[in-house]
Amino acid sequence: MGCCGDDDGIYKQQLIPNPNQHDSSSYCFTQNSMSALRNPSMGTPTNLAGSSASSSSKDVDVISPMNSNFFALTCRDILRSIFERLPVTDLARAACVCRFWNLVASDREIQTRAFISPWKLKDVIGKPSSGSFWRDNSLGRFAISHHILRGDTVASLAVKYSVQVMDIKRLNNMLSDHGIYSRERLLIPLSKPDHLCNRTCYIEFDVYAKREVAVVYLEGGPDGKNSCLMNRSTTTKRGNRRVIDSLKRSMRVDDGTAEYYLSISNGDPRAALAEFSEDLRWEDREIPS
């Protein structure tokens, strides 16, 4: 591989060559380490340049990323560029290769991008309780949130969304077809990805499904039922006051906190609640030892 010239100081990183290392070692060196490598037993730098075949066959000594001739893969920017192009499963595997790769592959932005790209989602909001959520972006991870209206039955919903009754019941852990009116909403499994295109999904822990689900709201926002009310009410001062009071009651916090969450959720009370509960979960998370 290419080496720096004698008078080079561009790569400030000091790579300490292992004396046992053979010629397939660090790509770039500082001046001091270069002299160690010009040791005749390890071959001259020109050998380093040309010997692509020999070095890869001599991989008896497994070398740490910092000393490998594939220095490129320890450069964070380059690794990010590569990972940005990986689908979810390959990204998950990349996270298992070594510590540094794990660090870069666990970057939220990269994970989100891999998660939403095959479905052409616009965005995903919310923080899952564990990183393993990101590693599976099959259709089963997603669901539509249907706000239950008078007259809805599981059968009518199955028709409306073109899914099987069994699938709706299974997702929501329903033992019978009745009793849906005690719930605010039902999660509807996705039969085809069209509903995901260009939408935002919210990571929520659904108490009935008993797991985290990436939820899509077809009516526009997490508070679909209140969306017209919300538009009207938040434009007036009194209306805004009502929303803040309602949030204060739900979250059991003070004015300032309620206002903060409302503001970061663009005036959407449901989203504010989601954010708040995410933050609570974050605070309560178990720190891995």
Partner: protein
């Protein structure tokens, strides 16, 4: 673009010196494909002399120059319009070009990163991503000579978290 005397720039030849002291004579317009070099050249520091590139070896540099030449020519053919990079000819060239062994590929990526040649960097990263896809974790480590520096407990935890990826 370059502010140096207009007439000269199209035929002006610059010299690039690789880390192993190989010298390449390159047309200025080709050199300007590299944003890094464009900056050096426009500051007029190197208009008469050699531009040393101590972190790029000759073998890689010659490939890069070849790439830049080809792309400059293609762009000239369509008069610098947007469609240049998408022509079939260029696409075929690119896939031939990037079909190299991993070491060279990484050398190209590093050099493209240093020289700031966006298209080449994208091409290289995409190729590596394609190489990584479908490979098992062990294979990736072997291919890129990466040491598994997890402790056994860490490895176990990480594998569990990423269970989906392993069938």
């Amino acid at each position: 673009m370059s502010m140096i005397s207009g007439d000269k720039s199209s035929t002006e030849i610059l010299s690039l010196k690789s880390s192993d002291n190989e010298i390449f004579e390159v047309k200025k317009e080709v050199v300007l494909e590299s944003i890094t070099l464009r900056g050096m050249v426009e500051e007029d520091e190197f208009s008469d002399t050699l531009i040393p590139l101590p972190n790029v070896e000759g073998k890689i540099l010659s490939k890069i120059i070849h790439y830049c030449q080809k792309h400059t020519e293609a762009r000239a053919k369509v008069n610098g319009s947007e469609g240049a990079a998408d022509s079939k000819e260029i696409k075929d060239f690119d896939s031939e070009f990037i079909n190299v062994d991993d070491k060279t590929l990484l050398g190209i990526i590093l050099a493209a990163n240093y020289l700031n040649i966006k298209d080449l960097l994208d091409l290289g990263c995409q190729k590596i991503a394609d190489n990584i896809k479908e490979k098992s974790v062990e294979d990736v480590r072997k291919t890129f000579n990466i040491k598994n520096d997890f402790t056994p407990e860490e490895e176990k935890a990480i594998r569990e978290e990423n269970l989906w990826a392993f069938d």
